[in-house]
């Protein structure tokens, strides 16, 4: 059951990404090119996704637990810190250069296009590099002076 519903969740997401245009870097970059060849479609993707998720979460998160797992695992932190804002700012720079974001690129792997694999390999390298960097930073912070 866990396998079936995990797969279905991913599939709905992947079909949605494919139909919406989020898997298409030209469309994504044109959304941000307001002073150039602007394509406002992505505002509708965000709008549709947010409305459904907002209403759905209201219903689902009122329940004591998810149906196939023991508890909801939702981030609880509310504070803003430098890694969050700095990391997000850096993410935007990369998104603006490549035109793919992780959620757009993962389903796009299904098209078999070499450009998607190129992006994903660089993405994985970036994630691993950041993990090493994060571990080094926290080790330094913990080291006795």
């Amino acid at each position: 059951m866990r396998i079936i519903f995990s797969y279905l969740s991913g599939l709905l997401f992947g079909v949605g990404i494919s139909l919406s245009g989020m898997a298409n870097p030209a469309k994504v970059l044109n959304f941000f090119d307001i002073t150039g060849i602007w394509d406002p479609s992505l505002a509708f993707v965000m709008g549709g996704a947010l409305i459904v998720t907002f209403i759905g979460y209201q219903i689902v998160l009122k329940r004591p637990a998810p149906t196939l797992s023991s508890s909801f695992q939702v981030p609880t932190r509310r504070d803003l810190d430098l890694p969050l804002i700095g990391g997000s700012a850096v993410f935007g720079v990369g998104w603006g250069i490549a035109g793919f974001c992780p959620g757009g690129a993962l389903p796009a792997l299904g098209t078999g296009r070499i450009e998607v694999f190129t992006f994903i390999i660089a993405l994985l390298a970036g994630i691993l590099a950041a993990k090493v960097l994060k571990a080094a930073i926290s080790k330094r912070a913990q080291a006795p002076v």
């Binding site: 866990r2 993410f91 720079v93 992780p102 299904g110």
Partner: protein
Amino acid sequence: MIETAFTPLQSLGGGALIGLGAVLLMATMGRVMGATGILAGIIQPTNLSDWSWRVTVLAGMISGPLVVMLITGELPAVQVPVSTSMLLIGGFIVGIGVTFGAGCTSGHGVCGMARLSPRSIAATITFMITTAITVYVVRHVLGA
């Protein structure tokens, strides 16, 4: 640069399906549909049961374009107006950013915003601004 057509209804419908996927994953597995988190958990597994749901979600995501092809007869368009080196540089920078920022468009922009999380709202506003600035600089200042 490649011009693209404005597709409000198709994008709204696609967005609604993205939301349905996110809600279904929360209702059944109790998890956030965040591409960054799911991918990070796949390359650094903690245990088999945690790894297996992530890989299954990823398999579902990758099947998305194929299901679209079964229904419409063609794969979704992937038009790449940037060079290979921009894909590599951009991808690496995205990987660094989403790891420190703990999320991307799906995790912060959809799931976190839908929970009205202050961290996700701040993250989303931040990356939308820096993406727009980057696209402006790349296209209209550097002329790439």
